[in-house]
Structures are given as structure tokens and as C-alpha cells.
Symmetry: C2
């Protein structure tokens, strides 16, 4: 951020009065431009013992596998975001069950909220952002070709919980270890 | 938003190629300015049978009561946000238990994430944004002077669940009914 989105003047970084963090400030019109984490809403959608995975057609991680998930939009609820992403990325309709796992990713200012969902029919197909969409049983999951650790960790928990016949609501932290790309520390919070 | 925060040119509203929603677009530098919901992190902090409430010293709802909660900051986790807000608004230290309730507020683009927490000591006091901080038992809650329906509804659920001896993770929608200020529709999602 270099310019004020309200008045177009150059902004500076400084700590506003009564605040304790640096923000982008506009001295011209007085606006403080806050930046906050974004919610990524998504769905672990199942049909019988299989879950729906998408192969990404876009960067980052083009060609790798994920569950349908994306940035929550203004005007929708978290689970509506999860349903919308499932429709957009996999042309699939789900009945959303409960929130399953929240993943804190503080190094990239994201909070994943993944819901469990039940596919309503088998009429799915790749959306614009997917190369392929498949229903995969646990032994078929391409663990070494997953797009994001968030999704791998969530799916590991999901299969472990499913084998116990219960899905407690879970929370994970995933943080970049030592600031190194590709190395992550996973903490089970609940 | 009138100006591009990257290059300072005027922005226009339009639907980008491959998208399906209007965004603020900069024709000069090509930036698409997305706007997304914000997370409000907070804490229902208890000591024995009482919960910690703050009387707001700031608008909106100055003088009314709430639990410590505020916009999640970049670089923190959801529960760290809840702990930080509890410290800032009530000078109170908590051990955070689990996520308790997520509240979708699509009409104002917010998602509340309220955690259950246990006060670590009784050395609390009003922070800069609070006029008073008090530990209140259920019959002492000022239900008619609560700042936000989010907090009232969350506390009602909390006391009901506590009386059953269990705290399932819950989700609510609260939407403005008929677009009328002060009238809300509450939906129990889970």
C-alpha cells in the first residue's frame, strides 16, 4: 500500500494515537488503513467412504491436489463460502454438516475454516480453477502431491476421526518453521 | 475506495475476467482490490460461576456491555487474538480453552469467533476501551444493556450449555431482519 484509497494521497507507516501497531496512515484525510487476516472457507465433501479432491488449474501449486476452498466473500456466511467454493471449483452440490477444523496460518494472515459436507449427487466436474475433480478413498489420496499442508493435515485428522466414528471440532496452527518455505510446524490446539 | 492503493489512480467498479463479482479495479496498474470479511476474536472468560464483561468506553454502543472481543490482527492466531483483546480491554490474563461459538454476520461482513477461557487471576481492570470490567453471575448479566446481539446470543447459549455440563462447538447466523437496524434474525446452525 502506497496511496490512500480514500483520497489518493501518499500514505506513511506509523502507530496511530491510542494504538500499538504500525498501520498505513493518511495524513491528508486522516484515514487509518487496517489490514486483517482473511478467512479461507472450504469443504471436505464425502460420498460414502470417498472425499472430493480437486487438482489445481491455477497458481500457486498448479497441478497439485486440494479440497474445494477459497477466500470467503463479503455478504456470505462461512458455510455459504464453503458451499460456493465447492460449486465453483468442482461443480458439486453439498449439504454442509458442521464446522470441522479451523487452521490458523499466522505467517500468511489466513484462517482456514473447513466444513464437513455430504455430496448431494455425483454430477461433479472440474470448475475453471480445477484440472480434475475426483472422489478418492483414503488409500487413494495423493499425499505427496497435495497443494497445501493445511489440506493434508485436515484430511489426516478427518480420516483418523472417521475411523473413531466421531468428528470433534478441531483447531490447528500451521506456521512456517524458521521462516523456511516448505517447512512447517503443525500444532494441534484442540 | 476511490483510488488505487498501489499506484494512486482512480479505480472503477467492474467484474474482472474470470470472476463473477464486482470488484474495485485499477485500469492503470491492473490491480484487483478484493474486500473480504473480517474476523472478530473474543473470549468468554470465566472465574468460578462468573463471566467477565466490559462496559464499552467507545462507540459504537458506548456505555453498553460486551465480552472482550475485537478485530483479529495480521500475524496472530484466532485464540491469540482472543487473549490479546482480553488483555487490552480488561487487563485480564486467560488460559484459552476451546473455540465455543462462531457467529456469521454477513450483513456487516464479520465472523465472530468466541473462545471459552479461564481467568488466571482477579487482577483485572478497565483497559482504554472500557469504562468498567466486572465478573458477573448469570442473574447479574445486564441483558437489556448488552452492546451487540452477537454477545447476548453467545452468552445465552453459554449459560444453557453450562447448565448441561457440556460445551459443544456452536455456530450462529445473526442477520439484520428486513434490513432494519436493531431487528435481528438469529439462526442456530450447529
Amino acid at each position: 500500500m502506497k496511496y490512500c484509497s480514500v483520497c489518493g494521497s501518499e500514505v506513511r507507516v506509523g502507530v496511530p494515537d491510542g494504538d500499538n501497531r504500525p498501520r498505513h496512515l493518511c495524513d491528508q484525510c486522516g484515514t487509518v488503513h487496517y489490514q486483517n487476516p482473511k478467512v479461507v472457507a472450504g469443504c471436505i465433501a464425502h460420498w460414502e467412504d470417498k472425499v472430493l479432491l480437486c487438482r489445481r488449474a491455477i497458481e500457486p501449486r498448479l497441478g497439485l491436489w486440494t479440497v474445494p476452498a477459497g477466500f470467503m466473500e463479503n455478504g456470505e456466511t462461512t458455510y455459504e463460502g464453503a458451499m460456493r467454493e465447492t460449486l465453483e471449483e468442482a461443480n458439486a452440490r453439498v449439504a454442509v454438516d458442521d464446522l470441522y477444523v479451523t487452521v490458523n496460518l499466522p505467517h500468511i494472515n489466513q484462517v482456514y475454516m473447513l466444513f464437513r459436507g455430504r455430496l448431494l449427487d455425483l454430477d461433479f466436474s472440474p470448475g475453471e480453477e480445477s484440472l480434475a475433480v475426483e472422489l478418492l478413498a483414503e488409500p487413494e489420496i495423493p499425499w505427496d502431491r497435495m497443494a497445501f499442508p493445511t489440506v493434508s493435515e485436515a484430511l489426516k485428522l478427518y480420516f483418523a476421526d472417521r475411523s473413531q466414528g466421531t468428528f470433534p471440532v478441531r483447531m490447528l496452527d500451521i506456521v512456517r518453521e524458521g521462516g523456511l518455505p516448505g517447512r512447517y510446524l503443525v500444532r494441534n490446539i484442540s
